[in-house]
Structure formats: structure tokens, C-alpha cells
Amino acid sequence: MPKDSGIGASSKRREDVRFLTGKGRYTDDINRAGQAYAYFLRSDVAHGRIRSIDTTEAAAMPGVLRIFTDEDFKDTGSLPTAWTVTSIDGSVQQEPRHPVLAEGIVRHVGEPIAGIVAETIEQARDAAEKIVLEMEELPAVTDAKAAVEAGAPQVHEELTSNLCFDWGFIQDNKAAVDAAFETAHHVTSLELVNQRVVANPMEPRCAVAEYDAGDDQYTLWTTSQNPHVIRMMMGAFVLNIPETKLRVVAPDVGGAFGSKIYNYNEEAFVTLAARILGRPVKWTSSRTEAFVSDAQGRDHQTKIELALDADGMFLAFRTETYANLGAYLRLFATVTPTYLHGPAAGGAYRTPLAYVNVKGVFTNTVPVDAYRGAGRPEGTYQLERLVDKAARELGIDPAELRRKNFVKPEEFPYQTPLAVVYDSGNYHATLDKLLDLSDYAGFAARRQESAARGKLRGYGFATWVECSGLAPSQLIGQLGARAGLYESAMVRVNPTGGIQVFTGTHSHGQGHETAFAQIVAEHLGIDEKLIEIIHGDTAKIPFGMGTYGSRSGAVGGAAILKATEKVIAKARKFAAHILEASEEDVNLVNGQFTVAGTDRSMAWAEVALAAYVPHNYPSDTLEPGLEESAFYDPENFVYPAGAYGCEVEVDPETGVVEVLNFVAADDFGTIINPMIVAGQQHGGVAQGIGQALLESAVYDKNGQLTSGSFMEYAMPRASDLPCFVVDHSCQTPTPHNPLGVKGCGEAGAIGAPPAVVNAVLDALNNGGYDVPDIDMPLSPSRVWAAMQSAS
């Protein structure tokens, strides 16, 4: 029977009530007394030299308080990146300065050049039009491969080339991998593009800053997934404001998907402007600005090859990828296509040899960084497309080819050839679950039925493994990380028994206020309603690294559990003292402290009150109060996995693809709240289908983003998607954290794109069209063109 409370219960989300009644508090809902408004003059060319900028007339416009240019920010630091990637030749990544406002050169459309602060946003906007800007347009390069060719325009003149790094993983294995290809029975190779997409959370970014000269204190309210990271990176490194003088608040945040991890130019701008002007300063992004200023995602061009033996067993795979980083490095720009990409690029298979090569390249485009899945979707897409192609070439059922190459359940923990050890899993079980839920056995009949209506039906598989639960600090330190990735928690028991839990993670749609309360309630045996989760304010929460990479349950949840266990240990001391028993004999069961073998007991709330009324305690051994904090650093990564099946119908007359059915059979280890987990699966799959069929950030040769609004950028709508079948009943809890949870937030975005594309290729190739390959997004025109060139 389903539980109605604690771990495993589908508790309704408490945060929903404020969201459903218009009482959510997002950053743009915050208005400070005396607030002024910022607007940015942004570059409308992809590459140019600023010859002159004249703000005289603009500064005299009504309501204008001040116009800022790079001169005002010359003492500030570069917007930082958080990881050092070392190239094959031993050199470290090239890392150009990333200024708050452009310093003489603009390097992508949308780069901020000047910031206008005025009494109203309309006045700031009007004044921007009066700035006289003389720009010498320079040749631009937008394609990563083109950018490393001889004679390509240089994005950063001070660098030796546009190549940021050339990373080989694991370089020492390359010779053995290449040798395996020399003698292989069969080699399947594929060149593909994982196109650039835009995260587009529904809430555009926003930042409001205030400065109190009385005690030299800054407060920044901002749309962030990680307020402490902003405080440290932006405050201390960019603006030279000590952590003690800056409070960063990330209130309700309307979705993020990675795009709100980074410390952005605009946040630094309003923080400094608020002090200089002595006024609160607010900036709210328009959607049009978001398209050219939020970090974008993906943008890989890859050649991948698979060597197989005569039985269809995988012998080795190797890749060569050009990863477009855009014009500047944001926080996770260099780790996303490398260490977040390579380690799980071997997927669910026991391929003994593997080599991943990624070249990170600067171009005159908006910076690229982690987007839902971050490196893992790119790795999964290329591998799962390749495996399907191999199955077609060898005439083996794609499910069978996968199954025979899976890591076997008894082989965990499994040492991969890509440095990491998979913790636990049962890939056969998730595939079996998928085949069952999607009625794979009945597919042939459904295909016939479609054919009778003149439609081409296809079924596409994808399996995926994610290296998640960021991250064991010691390990990532060896790999070039400049920070630790532990998480923190503080559990404060109030005198009447109510509990506040302060977490370093941040919820922007994931339901932490509900799910984290379930963890604490489970272990204390008390009502979830007695527990409040507090996040998002550096003045309240302990130092923590925030929410991304499906880490919150695995790392943040474990920190909460650890702090809860400390609280229980101390509460037991109070109970033992009052009940005149030894600590070992006192047990906490269903919220009651009871003495073993007796009828003596105390309720949770009684112990909580007693902790704060220390009238009769051995004060030398028992401090008053009940409040504990914990930092949890995971001992290793965790490896959620799944098997996805997509069924499509292609209209041969038009090339229109309709997704008829999508089934996700996932293994996330222990599930805290099944309802929330299913919601994460739905949302991830929708984003994956969006990338497969609809979405694309398209730059023209001059570097103009031609899909720069919701008019041109095809966001998935309700009518583009089916209802999904999602399952998470296959559970192999991880031994790497005390909760056994593996993380579910990115799964769908990782597994869905290859399943959709494989389904379309299955439909075409079984429908008489020899189409070996097709790139996303599978728009009707692209599918139709592929069919025409095939026939």
C-alpha cells in the first residue's frame, strides 16, 4: 500500500498553494523603496570594435540617473569559470577575460555595452536609443569547426587561437582503442550534430540590488539556482565584496534548467550600480534579451565510431567532438563538454575500450553552458544513435543488440574504461519494463495498421546512464574543479517541536519544500507539517553549492539526513536524562522516545521543549538547545539509468512527425516522492522531445540569432506532445549515499532525443526510405527532404 507520509509518499506539494493563488514571490515581484531601473544597450553585431560611444544626449534625457560603460567596471574581476581543463599536450585551457560590460570589442550579439539607470524602465529604454555608438563590424565566426580552421576570425585577439582546449579522455588508452578498430569485424561510424538549444525557463532572469551605506551591506535578490555560489563568485571574485557584506537571496525561481547557475553580467551590474547611485536598482530581462544573454546549451559536432566483433559484441568506441563554447566562458563552460560528458559516454554497455576527444572552441555566439543534463545528453545521443545504426547495419534487433552488450546485474560495482565505477543497476530490468509497458510485442501489428492509413510507424529505443550526484570533492579536485561540491544542512528544533531545515540547495520547481520535509519526517516519525524547509537566502542558510546536475536529493538530501541524525542523537540524551535511562536503551519510534522494556516514554515535542528548559541537567556534559548542522561530501558519484521507447508516425506526404507514445522506464534508486519524480520525468522527456523535433538556436553566417524569440524558436506546446508513460519501479538504491537516491531531474532530457530520432529513422528505413542519418530538429521539411533524397 502506498505510504501517506515520509519517504515514498506522494505528498502533495505545499509550495503549490502560494503558486496557485498568485502569492509566489519571484524576483520581479520584489520592489524596493526608491528603486531605479536598469536597461542595457546590447551589441547588435556578433563581432565589432567600439570606435566611440557618446552618452551625452542620452544622459540628459528625462529621468536618467547615470549611464555606465566599461570605464566604470575596469576595477572589477572577470566573470569566472569554475573548472580547469587540461589539453592533450599538457597545456591548460585558454581563459579570456569576461567583462561585465564590453571593453572595446563586442564578441556576440547581445553582449552588454552600456547600462542605463533611470527613474522608470521606459525612461531607461528611451535613453538607450539616444546613445551614439560607432561600431566597426569585424568578421564573425559561429561554427565550431570553422573557427579552428586557418584564417578564421579570432574571437579573442589575445589568445593564440579559438581553441580553448583539446581534451583526450583517457589519452593513455587511445592507442589500444585505435588498435581494436584495426582488427574489428565491423565498424559503424556516424557524424552528427547535437544542435544548440535555449533553456528558456518561463521566468526571465531578474536582479534587484540594494546598498545600505550605514553598515556597508549589499543585498541582491536574483533568479539563481545557487545563491551562495553567486555570493562567492560574483561578490568576492568579480566585485571584491567580502561575503560578510553581501547577502544574496534567490526567492521563488520560475524554472532554470541550468541557465540560472551562472553569475551573470547583469547581477554584477545592479549590485555595483546600487552602491554608486545610493538607490536600489532593478533589472528584468525581456524574453528577447534572454535569447541573447542567457547561457545556451549543447552545440556539439561529433564523429563517433563503434567497433564490433562477429557476434555483435562492442569492442571499442571513440569520439571526436567540436564543442561550441560561444564567445566567453561561463561558470561550467569547460567542465560540461568534458568531465560531465566523458565519464558516462559509454552508457549502459560493457564496451572494454573507449576514448573521448573534445575540442572546446570559441565563436562569436552567446556563451554555452550546462543545460538540463549538461554533457550527458550529448554523450547519450551520439552513442544511442550509433548503436541503432549498428543494429540496422548488422540486421540485429536494436533491443537485442543493447541487451547482449549491457553491463550485467551481477557485475556491479562496474569499472568502466572511462575512469568511473558504476555503483549499482539492472539495465536488463529497465529494458524489460520498457518492452512490457510499451507493448513492444504488439508493435508490428500497429505498424501494419499505420501502413493501412498511409503512415510510416517507427519505434525508437534509447538507454542512458547518468554520472550524477555532483560531486565527490576530492575526486573532482583532481580533475580540475576549483570548488568542492558537498552540500550543507542545518536542522533547528524549536521549543514547541516545530522544525526548520536550512538547506544549501535551491528549489526552482523541484518541490524541495515538500520532499525534504518527507526525509526529516520519516526519520523523526512526526507529521511533515511540523517541518519547514528554508532555502535561497545566504543570510539564513549555511554555505551550500545549490541545485543542478540532479544533485539535490543525492547530496542535499543526504546532508539533511546527516543533520537529522545528529539532532536525534542529542534529543536521545535529553530523553535518557529525563526518563532516567541509559542512552542505549532509549529509542525513537513514531515520534516517541521510549525506554526499551518499559512503558516509560516521552513525545517528540516534550523532548524538544525540555532541550530549551535546562533546569536540571548535567550542564558539563549536556548543552541546552537542539540544533545541528552537517556538511555532506559524497564518497562517489551515483548512476541513475533508464530505458526509453518512443513510437512515432511519419506522414510521408508532409514529413510531419507525430509522437504517439513515449515510455520511460527509469531506475533512480530510492524514491522520496513518486508524484514529484514522475513530474520530473515528464518535464525532462518533454524537453528532450522538444530538442528532437522542434527547438534550434539558429545563427546566420553573420552571427545574428535568427530564432531569437518565441515567434521563431519552437517551444514544445501541449499539442506537440502525447501523454507519457513513466515508471520508476526498477530500483537499485545506490550504496554511495545513505538515502540510496540517484537523482531524476535530468533523465528525460538525456534519454528522449535519441529515442525520438531512432523512432523516426526506424519509420523511414522500414517504410522504404533508405535514410542512414538525420540531424535534429526533425522538422517536417527536414524529414521530407531526407525522404526525397533517399528515394
Binding site: K12, R13, E15, D16, V17, R18, F19, L20, T21, G22, K23, G24, R25, Y26, D28, D29, N31, E122, N200, P201, M202, E203, P204, D252, V253, G254, G255, A256, F257, T284, S286, R287, T288, H508, G509, Q510, G511, M675, I676, A678, G679, H682, G683, G684, V685, A686, Q687, S709, F710, M711, M715, P716, R717, A718, S719, L721, C723, F724, G748
Partner: protein, 160 residues
């Protein structure tokens, strides 16, 4: 500046606005009814849907002055008189029809308008009606379920 007055969530309000002031800006900035959200600048996303004289309207497509004299309902006016969630709101919570909550006010307002026009919509009709409301979190699956659940609860009442 134009002097305007209207009823918002049953209460008379008035203000002075520029001709270019959008209804969405008037609600958010002048009335501080921040439940109506702005998710785009091309009238695509639907986060700002409100009801004007009973019709679902994207508040960013209408000047505040055009709503002079109108009856306007926003998400803040959708709860029951005792403060509990209305039927559509409750269905969204019950079916987990929201995650980050940003598109939610527009979704609820659109859903309520749909169910008034078509008390028993099919799944296809629901998906078609939500053409103008973008959600990035839920994949729409649970939004569709929430509207179906709300329809089932409202229909017996409507039949009485």
C-alpha cells in the same frame, strides 16, 4: 496620462496610466497584483492570462486604458471566498500540474475559461486550447490531467 477605473477581483480600482501602459503592467506595477506574470514580449507564452469581462485575455496584448470600466479577474481572485483553493486550483495541486509555478497563473486562468466554454473537453481539445500557454516544466501531462479532473468535479455542479 489617462485616468482609468475598473473592477479587479470584485474591487473597484483606479489609476492614472500612460497610453502605452499595458494591462499586465498596470496589474503588476500599479496594483501590485504580481500573480500575473510576464514570460515573454511577443504575446506567446500566456503567463499573463486574466479574464476581462469574462473572456480569457493575455494582459500583455491589451492597454490598461482599454480595460477602463471592465470587470477583470486575476489569479488572486480565483480562490473560494473562505480562502481555500477553487476547483481548478485544487485540481492543479492534486494532479501535480505545476512545478516552478511561473506559467501556472496563466494556465489556471486559461483552464477556467476553457471549462466555462466547454465543460467536458476531450484531451485533444484541452491540448489545442492551451496553444497559447507555454509550460517548460511539466511537459503538460499533469496540466491536462488537472483540467480533466477539474472538469469532472465541475460538471455535476453545472448540471444542477
Amino acid at each position: 496620462m489617462v485616468e482609468i477605473s475598473m473592477n479587479v477581483n470584485g474591487k473597484p480600482v483606479s489609476g492614472a496610466v500612460e497610453g502605452r501602459t499595458l494591462l499586465s503592467a498596470f496589474l503588476r506595477d500599479d496594483l501590485r497584483l504580481t500573480g500575473t506574470h510576464i514570460g515573454c514580449d511577443t504575446s506567446q507564452c500566456g503567463a499573463c492570462v486574466v479574464h476581462v469581462n469574462g473572456e480569457a485575455v493575455k494582459a500583455c496584448t491589451m492597454f490598461a486604458a482599454e480595460a477602463d470600466g471592465a470587470e477583470v479577474t486575476t489569479i488572486e481572485g480565483m480562490a473560494n471566498a473562505d480562502g481555500t483553493l477553487g476547483v481548478v486550483q485544487q485540481a492543479f495541486q492534486d494532479e501535480h500540474g505545476l512545478q516552478c509555478g511561473f506559467c501556472t497563473p496563466g494556465m489556471v486562468m486559461s483552464a477556467a475559461a476553457l471549462l466555462r466554454d466547454n465543460p467536458t473537453p476531450s484531451e485533444a481539445e484541452i491540448r489545442e486550447y492551451l496553444e497559447g500557454n507555454i509550460c517548460r516544466c511539466t511537459g503538460y501531462h499533469n496540466i491536462v490531467k488537472a483540467i480533466q479532473t477539474a472538469a469532472a468535479k465541475l460538471t455535476p455542479v453545472a448540471a444542477e
